[in-house]
Symmetry: C2
Subunit: 255 residues, 2 copies
């Protein structure tokens, strides 16, 4: 099995190293990841400047290909330019921090998996909730391996991907797995306004306290309750119900 | 009516100026847009560095608020920090270049409208196909005004937005309006590999020839055929059909 491994925390991030270590033996692994951290870049792509691919070494050992672009760029370059054989599975992660609810849209980790799904490849995004409770990415990577083994027993429909979130708990305290839908409400993230030493305003985005959100059956409730959340996603944003409705609006005489 | 106007081509872009000019009289307009072009940034948000808001003047006239961030950042800042009254309508555009098919996911223009929808506000993304056939953004802005007038006669359901694409044609050659779904297939965009003066490889993303794509009922077919395309979108990516299916997979004993 050919596996493409990418992330949005950058090629030197602990999450990608832990995952590579723990999925060893599942297949041939190619790592293509951003040179530097790309958190929150969403599904950005690079066409305003050229992309470079450079071999990356750690302790004199080749670990993968670094790209001066976004996670989605990495997937495109990996599949079109770097990998000799096409991947059987694309894995994006492990992201340090959950990607649930509307954060799915902001996430470079999920965008890489979405890009792979668009290109017709089976893909999974894996994120690990970070908290002061627990932060051992190696235990998350072990859990991730078991999930990957289960998933690869099945065929994912073309164009779909799985978004996996692992709660910030030791493995023996994780309650199990829930198959969930995306929590589709605003997290109401606002800004902190501060004054810099020159007297000018600046604004920091304030993250939400996700543990405050509950809605049965959603990704965020699952991890809040101590379950692994697996949400199947697709990249077709069409609102089919609204489509039927607005067809009957008056569109005569506009052009 | 309070209108928030933003874009991803930057606050000085011709598309936002043309739209502001032609929707004059529809309501009170507040412009909040990125300082510089942000095309292809997708739904990126900024939390790695602080954001600044600066008043922007053109020919000594105040035109709006410039932000050193993404289109989605602009919408958040506009609504939480800048506008005294909440917007009745958020308009993102006019983007110079269509945003159809999977390009919806890469688009900063659409992401701004999605962000507004997440926050519960009625929103529209407007893009103008650019070609060597025709490129008068003022005629597109006139068409956009009529569309906006029609849309504001109705109430958009919370969380939905409309993605409008105007074909690259003079108004009298536009055939009408089609209500469409997103073209949900890969555009098969690849890379040009070049050698720089130092002998090193670099890669440019090559855009697709969108006129080659046809699928009845989709956004891309509509503009290829000379129609204005209006696609209702929502930001819930859950694949509900797959959710039902994978619930029956074996998830026992993982954690």
């Amino acid at each position: 099995m050919q596996i493409l491994l990418t992330n949005d925390d950058g090629i030197y991030a602990p999450g990608i190293a832990a995952l590579k270590h723990h999925i060893n033996g599942l297949g041939h692994i190619t790592i293509v990841a951003p040179d530097i951290e790309q958190s929150g870049v969403g599904h950005s792509i690079t066409f305003g400047h050229p992309l470079r691919i450079r071999p990356v070494y750690l302790n004199n050992e080749f670990i993968g290909h670094g790209v001066n672009g976004s996670p989605a760029d990495c997937v495109k370059l990996a599949i079109y330019e770097i990998m000799k054989e096409k991947p059987d599975l694309v894995i994006s992660g492990i992201n340090m921090g959950s990607n649930v609810g509307i954060h799915i849209l902001y996430s470079g980790t999920v965008a890489a998996a979405v890009e792979a799904a668009i290109m017709g490849f089976a893909s999974i995004a894996i994120s690990f909730e970070i908290s002061d409770k627990y932060a051992d990415v190696h235990s998350a990577a072990k859990v991730a391996r078991t999930i990957i083994e289960r998933i690869t027993k099945h065929k994912l429909p073309k164009g779909s991907l799985l978004n996996v979130n692992i709660p910030s708990l030791p493995p023996d305290r994780i309650k199990g797995i829930k198959i969930t839908r995306q929590f589709a409400h605003d997290f109401k993230e606002t800004f902190a306004r501060r004054i810099d030493p020159s007297g000018r305003d600046y604004y920091w985005l304030i993250g939400t306290d996700k543990t405050a959100h509950h809605e049965e059956g959603t990704d965020i409730s699952a991890i809040n309750e101590g379950y692994i959340s697996i949400t199947p996603l697709r990249y077709d944003l069409t609102d089919n119900a609204l489509l039927k409705k607005i067809e009957s609006w008056n569109w005569e005489g506009i052009a």
